[in-house]
């Protein structure tokens, strides 16, 4: 059998820990020879200052719709792609925990890797989510670097 286009999608804005296994399972497909994933995790420091934890806030309804749009654009740009899963955490996220997962399956590695990389870049540019870094002596809303494609 020959599958064409995305047959498997999974999008999640989650208040509970994200599961890499679940994302990989969501994009697994007998026609896929490659699965590329990206996971963003909370670092213990930013420019030398110790991070205690992060707080993510989302415009929930728009964020879910945005994840779907990113998946649709990936399917347009890389038609062989067989699956896209994107999940983003909201609320308090501890150091070492995963804040975002992007997983893409495709018949061959080039498309899976390129689409995954594009997906996380796009997400950082357009997903309506805000991040507060909490230090022992203060806190700051951390903006992503500009440079992604405009929405």
């Amino acid at each position: 059998m020959d599958f064409r286009g995305i047959v498997r999608t999974w999008y999640q804005i989650s208040e509970t820990p994200l599961s890499m296994e679940r994302a990989v399972a969501a994009v697994s497909d007998p026609a896929a020879g490659a699965i590329a994933t990206f996971a963003g995790t909370t670092r213990n420091s930013f420019q030398g200052k110790e991070v205690r934890y992060l707080e993510y806030e989302a415009y929930g309804a728009m964020a879910e719709r945005t994840l779907e749009e990113i998946g649709t654009k990936i399917a347009d740009k890389w038609p062989p792609v067989t699956g896209v899963a994107i999940a983003h955490r909201v609320g308090r996220v501890e150091v070492g925990e995963t804040s975002v997962i992007v997983a893409v399956s495709a018949p061959h590695r080039k498309e899976a890797l390129a689409a995954c990389s594009w997906g996380i870049d796009r997400l950082k540019a357009v997903l309506p989510v805000w991040k507060k870094e909490v230090f022992s002596d203060g806190e700051v809303w951390r903006e992503n670097e500009p440079g992604g494609e405009p929405p």
Binding site: M62, L123, A125, L127, P128, W130, N144, P151
Partner: protein, 82 residues
């Protein structure tokens, strides 16, 4: 003048201390006109607004976009997801 409810997020929400505000805007009611009215009412986020974007009905819009009654309007400061 029409009254519009505007949702606020992240640093804008925190600076104002509420997750929505109301502003009165004359015709034509554009996204830019709403931002201007929010800036006038909440000078504490005046520096944030020029870097913010506007979403209408959960989609990014250009400043000149016209608003329709009942539209869900949101001001989105620079995002930090990922």
């Amino acid at each position: 003048m029409t009254r519009w409810t505007v949702r606020l997020f992240g640093p804008a929400r925190e600076a104002i201390g509420t997750d929505r505000t109301e502003v009165d805007v004359g015709e034509p009611a554009t996204a830019a006109a709403v931002v201007e009215a929010v800036a006038a009412r909440h000078p504490e986020i005046a520096d944030l607004l020029p870097r913010s974007r506007v979403a209408v009905e959960r989609e990014y819009v250009d400043p000149e976009a016209r608003l329709r009654p009942g539209d869900e309007i949101a001001i989105l400061p620079p995002v930090g997801g990922g």
